[in-house]
Symmetry: C2
Subunit: 488 residues, 2 copies
């Protein structure tokens, strides 16, 4: 049923406009500039056309069927427009308009009227007070603030417009693929559970990401979350963890946040993976979308730089992961390739050898070995920056040809790309995650390396982020394995 709301063949925007600073302009502009795959009908009785499209005075004047309506006009117009929807047989509505329960008593009464009408007429209403929806797979970018991440497997439910938007924007800037997005607004009609249920059955959604301020029907939420998380991972951040935060949430979206300890207790049974910050929401989602699940917690570390190995080993142990001894067979193999003073332990410190073949061999030795369930690779990606800096000095001092410098730069890029390609191959061969950390990402560097295979490389900025993702993936793996055994 919500299926057609997220996959409309035709959309209408009531209040569509070209005038800057109006929501009707933002939504219409975003849909058109985002190159929506379906038909577009602007509704506005005051102008003959909007962005080159003929306008219609009302929904009833549109000669064809409309699958989804966006309403951007003031709250006092809403009941009239809903009557038009009913008359035209439109059941899917995204109500951008604000001025309802979030603003006080009068707004709350109007919102009650909407709910009553929706229930008697079977209307599916997103919002009101929502910033919109996205479905990248039909190129429907219909949010009031504009950002267009590329298509992918992560679907988002956000109970705050600005936070949800920001997560989309981070996804875009890091090239993380998104499937669907909904800002759930006041949840007058469609609730967080409804979106969760839809994402559960949606084949394009691999991972579900939620920003939660408050949940009305805890019991129903837990039930649906429990069933969903067995099928695909749910990553969630709960705001209002403290009393003060709850109060702020209440005044923000009118959500009754309830006690966080009650929420946390309920969530523990559901298998939801809890994030601790908005950024973590996205890095966890990227991990679940990109890696095979770790089948154990024994971590092998390969590092270009000893200090980073120490930091990462600490992080692993503090998160309940194990750092096994390095197997004798690997020591013998690496003895052939590394200088005599190498550490002969896990973390494997590659002591600055600038040789990508050694890097590849070392990672494969680790990932192929039964002693390890996950390999973390530190500092290899990004190290090109330092090699280039050194060359740049020689260039600046007039002792290197520019063409040699350029070739050097190009060859380092190729070597990095081949290394990442190899890591995705190794993940597919051994079905284990290989997690990469780059300390010197530059603007043109990717966060996700996708060469079209089953798995992708995620390149994290810090070891703490990488370790956290591994630890939480491993917990989820345990949860699913135990639950599946119980129900087998």
């Amino acid at each position: 049923m919500i299926e057609s709301l997220f996959n409309p063949g035709s959309v209408a925007v009531v209040g569509a406009s070209e005038v800057p600073l109006k929501w009707g302009t933002y939504i219409a502009g975003n849909i058109l500039d985002g190159k929506f795959n379906g038909r577009f009908y602007p509704v506005n009785p005051n102008v003959p056309e909007v962005f080159g499209y003929k306008t219609y005075p009302s929904l009833l004047d549109i000669p064809e069927p409309v699958d989804l309506v966006f309403i951007t006009t003031p709250s006092k117009t809403i009941m009239h427009i809903l009557q038009d929807c009913i008359e035209k047989g439109i059941t899917n509505i995204v109500m951008i308009t604000s001025g309802f329960s979030e603003t006080g008593k009068e707004g709350a009464m109007l919102e009650n009227d909407i709910v009553a009408l929706a229930q008697s007429r079977g209307l599916h209403i997103v919002g009101p007070n929502t910033m919109g929806i996205v479905n990248t797979h039909c190129s429907l970018y219909a949010t009031g603030t504009i950002t267009r991440p590329k298509p992918g497997g992560i679907s988002i439910i956000a109970q705050s417009g600005n936070l949800g938007f920001q997560i989309l924007e981070w996804a875009r800037s890091q090239n993380i693929g998104i499937s669907k997005f909904v800002g759930s607004g006041n949840e007058a009609v469609l609730k967080i559970e409804d979106y969760l249920e839809y994402y559960k059955s949606d084949s394009e959604t691999k991972v579900i990401l939620m920003y939660i301020e408050g949940i009305d029907d805890g019991k129903s939420f837990v039930e649906i979350a429990k069933n969903t998380s067995l099928k695909k991972p749910i990553i969630a951040l709960k705001a209002g963890r403290t009393e003060i935060g709850s109060k702020a949430a209440a005044s923000h979206t009118g959500a009754l946040a309830g006690s966080y300890s009650v929420f946390k207790g309920a969530v523990q049974q559901t298998g939801i993976v809890m994030a601790e910050s908005p950024k973590e929401l996205l890095s966890l989602s990227a991990a679940f979308d990109s890696f095979p699940l770790p089948k154990g917690n024994r971590i092998g570390i390969v590092t270009l730089g000893g200090g980073w190995g120490v930091i990462t080993a600490d992080e692993c142990v503090e998160r309940g992961l194990l750092i096994p001894e390095l197997p004798q067979s690997i020591i013998e193999e690496l003895d052939k390739r590394l200088p005599p003073f190498w550490s002969r332990g896990n973390p494997v410190d590659l002591v600055g050898q600038p040789d990508f073949q050694i890097f590849k061999d070392a990672v494969e030795l680790m990932v192929a070995n039964d002693a390890f369930d996950v390999v973390i690779v530190l500092g290899i990606i990004g190290a090109k920056v330092f090699a280039l800096r050194a060359a740049e000095s020689i260039l600046n001092l007039g002792k290197m040809e520019k063409s040699i410098y350029d070739d050097f730069m190009k060859s380092l890029r190729v070597l990095e790309k081949e290394f990442l390609d190899r890591l995705t191959e190794l993940m597919a061969i051994y079905n284990k995650p290989i997690v990469t950390v780059s300390f010197s990402k530059s603007f043109e560097d990717e966060t996700i390396h996708d060469c079209g295979g089953r798995f992708k490389c995620v390149i994290y900025d810090t070891p703490e982020e990488a370790v956290l993702c591994v630890a939480k993936m491993y917990n989820y793996y345990n949860y699913v394995t135990k639950r599946s055994m119980v129900y087998a």
Copy 2:
């Protein structure tokens, strides 16, 4: 005494070269390309010149006094070169060369010989196995890997070359000012305490940043740290917090890390501000270098976006900070400026008003009020991205002139700059920190806004980072106030 090591009028590099991939090339190239303010003497018997500078076969052949020598030649040459140093009256030496205690027994014996000689002859030796030193104030960039942050107030001691270098590189990329840097290497002669003592007395150093793997003489370290932290803040990260991490540290720099709980206990009396990750080291240092210390823990939050207010309130409470009620006088003032449905609470949600005058007024109302010790400003800086995106859509759809778009972009930049200028003024007037968070920093945006006044704006990427810095600055303020009272 170490003073002249960090402020040399002339330096020599033994092993200076132009051949790529040699340490003697990296160090010489970095010093020259970094435009060192003093004289430079390459020592190399095999080539007539290096980067246009006449070479000398040995240190003894240099006709003038040398204040500081870098040694980059293999370990077997060291004792001979040290004899030359003694003969020429050179006491300051940076020993880049590796192959000592970190590689085994034989190396350790050689290192012992160096220590003995240094003690009898009063040599100040950095390293061996160090990646070098930096003093931005005389433009001495003398590290093996190359990065050149701008001059500023933060001085660094790193017991890991690659980590230390990475912190320098992050400082450069975020435009955070650095005063001095030393990679302390094996600490055969000069120890972490010696550098700490020097930074304590160095007038260019405002904040001290340390990456610690292990400390030989805990008692002396605690004593010096205690005296130093009363004078200027010390921010430290200890690696080897877990047994596994300690083991990795031991094999990395040969450091005897000792138990972390013992270390933590000792550190508590010293007033050292402990960081939990390398990135946190730098963000804390930037905070201490930029803001007035908070004199209390009552936080006022001004936010463009309600969800972010909730997240930040939670973070504050979880870190022991308070979110007081909004004073009636501020409510009355903001009633005049904000739409009727604004939240009337702390966090103050500016409900999307695109008006920088309201932003400035709201922040000033908060910072001027006795109810608050710190103001956190969320989402105002960076919001220009969304305004520009909306305009860009209209531009793309042919309904806006390019020149209008360009003017709009320029005016938003100016408004952001004026806003940050005003925040630094307000900090100086009220002597309270105003901490800014931008969620959509782009490449050309600054992390530190410095308009030459007493204080600077730090623009954080996430509220958790901002709140953490405020909480730790407040703890430090408490420590110093109590200690100062005891000793008054």
